[in-house]
């Protein structure tokens, strides 16, 4: 068992780094896109409302 650990441990930081990089990047991408989408939707709602009010007036 100790032999296996001695083979795995030197490579482990690179494997962990690769997986962490993938997961953090995927989550980051999703987070950024959703926050921008929400902001745009809010802005669009305000503008559409304002346009509707202007048309009614």
């Amino acid at each position: 068992m100790g032999d296996i650990y001695s083979q795995v441990l030197p490579q482990a930081p690179y494997v962990i780094a690769a997986y962490a990089l993938i997961w953090v990047s995927l989550l980051g991408f999703v987070g950024v896109v959703f926050s921008r989408l929400r902001r745009l939707e809010k802005e669009l709602d305000v503008l559409e409302e304002s346009l509707k009010r202007r048309e009614q007036a």
Binding site: I4, Q7, V8, Q11, A12, Y14, V15, A17, A18, Y19, L21, I22, S25, L26, F29, V30, V33, F34, R36, L37, L40, E41, E43, L44, D45, L47, E48, S50, L51, R54
Partner: protein, 228 residues
Amino acid sequence: MKKRSMLAEIMLVLGGIITTVALLMAFFWAPASLYPDGRVDFAQKIFYFHVPVAEASFLVFVFTAYYGIRFLMTKRREYDTKAKIATEVTLFFVLLTMATGILWTRVEWNVWWQWEPRLTTYFIMTLLVIGYFVLRNSVEDEEKRATYAAAFGILAFIDAPISFLITRFVQSTHPVVFKSGGLETPMLVTFIIAQVGMIMLGYAFYQLRLQQEQLRERLDALKISVGG
């Protein structure tokens, strides 16, 4: 008001679940790969996500070329937007492929980089994808920008099949993944599941970014209406 498509969100959730399952399978189900001398090759675990991310980059890049051709044929702005978004998602996957590949190379080849055929052609692809955005940002006229970008995107895509196939035609130290008898069944199943999940995520990313861009365009048009 709901302005997003449900399909993109469903694909995002499913893709997230499937890739997470693949992650667990990679570490708890797929057997450890061994070097010829019997030592454990733990770094091989990087393969389960490095390759799907690379395949996703090739696949999404197809849409850059496809929408580039559609734009040149029709001159419709929506195709330029779609090509741009596809290239953005390609860039995301390309950078992830490069980063995970470099980590694998460091362990397996004891170097951070090697100028061998697959790495070199993929590096060229990375530069071409970055170049696409440099080109877009350097042309002010909208029509010219879209035309140049479409032409550049189509030409840049030529490197993708070259990079994908080069290890089959030129002697290379980079492993060839898709060959008969290359993987044990649990390894292959894990890889396929990771690949499916990553393609779903790629589709979801593309659709979500596209929706964001379309919302922004709608917002700009409304701002002009309200302002005028």
